[in-house]
């Protein structure tokens, strides 16, 4: 049975092409930038493009795309229709692994250089200067609105009616995943502070607060699901049970996954931000000693 389940891949052309296009554009842009950077190498001057073409960035970006592919086509996706815990893992991979990995690859400038010249000019025109598009996008993606959007999507799709509907209809299921992914990309965009920068960059303290503020919702939702004594998502009562897990046991494990590993990811990012704050504090020049202190000590 396990072998049959591991062979259950849902290879979908729309997902494959949706992943192949950005992968090809990114590699094209990265190769171009690397060539230009090498040609302009001047040991006397720091080249701002050098950071863009660091070798780990394409690895992170392609890793993020691979995570999306695994979440949407592997047995994790297929078994999500039978096990709530698999569906929870799928959502966490999309939100907590794929989106941050894609963003640390700093995709925007690299993808821009991967676009054909005409398309690059058009996209550049849309996003720069006084275009209405930029003004509207800037307003719609303000940190506050993005936080609210992420919270609404995250909590809203866990409503039993919405969740059951998504499990019954592949179309609604795709919309669920699309909104999860979009909301998490926007959320992590503000946390990572990568391009395009339409807004004032959040300070490290603000980013820390931004990340920490989503943890209570995640934990409360996880705890409610983990300790529910009745099936919340009734669709799972209409499918065969795997590995002897009852619907409530499956639900409890899913809730625990959301509660503990789900929250751990936010806490991990928060710790990285705290370490940055500590590092920046330690790099500050020391305050000059005050004369009265020197006198006292002396």
């Amino acid at each position: 049975m396990t072998q049959a389940l591991l062979l259950s891949w849902d290879i979908r052309l729309i997902v494959l092409i949706g992943l192949a296009i950005p992968a090809l554009l990114y590699l094209r842009g990265w190769r171009y930038l690397r060539t230009v950077t090498r040609a302009q190498r001047d040991p006397a001057r720091a080249n701002p493009r050098a950071a863009l073409v660091a070798g780990w960035k394409p690895a992170a970006y392609l890793g993020g795309l691979a995570a999306v592919g695994i979440a949407l086509m592997s047995p994790i996706d297929v078994l999500g229709g039978q096990l709530f815990l698999m569906h929870m893992i799928q959502h966490l991979v999309l939100i907590m692994i794929a989106a941050p990995l894609l963003l640390v690859g700093n995709p925007f400038p690299v993808l821009m250089w991967g676009l054909p010249r005409g398309a690059r000019r058009k996209v550049g025109g849309l996003l720069s200067g006084p275009s209405r598009f930029r003004r509207v996008v800037t307003k719609l993606t303000s940190p506050g609105l993005v936080w609210l959007f992420f919270f609404t999507v995250y909590v809203g799709w866990h409503d039993p009616n919405m969740y059951n509907l998504a499990l019954r209809s592949e179309f609604v299921h795709d919309i669920e995943h699309l909104t999860f992914f979009l909301a998490s990309m926007l959320f992590w965009w503000h946390v990572t502070g990568v391009a395009p920068r339409f807004h004032r960059t959040l300070s490290t303290f603000q980013r820390l607060a931004y990340v920490l503020s989503i943890i209570p919702a995640n934990m409360i939702l996880g705890v409610v699901i983990a300790f529910a004594s009745e099936p919340i998502y009734t669709y799972y009562t209409t499918v065969p049970r795997l590995w002897g897990l009852s619907v409530v046991q499956d639900q409890s494990i899913a809730g625990i996954i959301m509660w503990i590993p789900g929250s751990m990811m936010y806490i991990l990012i928060a710790l990285i931000l705290v370490s940055r704050i500590v590092q920046s504090e330690s790099e500050k020049p020391p305050h000059p000693e005050t004369p009265w202190l020197v006198d006292t000590v002396g």
Partner: protein, 176 residues
């Protein structure tokens, strides 16, 4: 050339949206229905079933442990109130969830249908059935809705992307 290639890839990516049917899921029709020595789960898709393609997913399980039974021959027979029945073999090869048996059936007419699922393993077998009300072929609204969204978003982007063409106001000379 690269732009054309991108457009072709995008069109290819949109094509399957119009024909996607849920694999390994859909509307539950039979839930742990005892049939012979085993139990059957059956789902149909789309919801409601319309004239055209009906996707049927079948899970054959042990009644006590719900462990899947993988070596059966599974047949699905759809019978209209008036007319000839249609039979199709559901297989693991057609299934996304490899523990299920799945098949697509071409339903030619609307009205009440009876769908029977039967299995055979060696000499043992069993069957169970359920009614389905087939509705007339409707327009698939999903690609249309997707097209409208793409048109609205694309139009909005083009409209908003136009820079303000009004000439900039002349600079006010410094009065001081």
């Amino acid at each position: 050339m690269a732009t054309r290639l991108l457009l072709i890839l995008l069109l290819l990516a949109l094509q399957p949206v119009s024909s996607a049917l849920a694999h390994g899921g859909g509307t539950p029709q039979l839930v742990k229905e005892r049939a012979g020595a085993y139990a059957l789960y059956v789902w149909t898709n789309p919801d409601p079933v319309r004239v055209g393609t009906m996707h049927v997913s079948v899970a054959l399980v042990q009644p006590d442990t719900e462990a899947p039974v993988l070596n059966a021959d599974v047949r699905v027979t759809a019978t209209p109130e008036t007319g000839n029945p249609i039979t199709s073999t559901a297989t693991h090869e057609n299934a996304t969830v490899k523990t299920y048996y799945e098949t697509d059936m071409a339903i030619p007419q609307e009205g009440p249908w009876q769908v029977a699922v039967s299995y055979q393993i060696d000499d043992a077998g069993g069957s169970a059935s359920f009614p389905v009300q087939v509705q007339r072929a409707g327009m698939n609204m999903q690609p249309i809705a997707l097209g409208v969204v793409v048109a609205v978003v694309g139009g909005g982007i083009i409209f908003m992307g136009r820079r303000n063409r009004r000439p900039a106001a002349p600079a006010v000379p410094d009065q001081k």
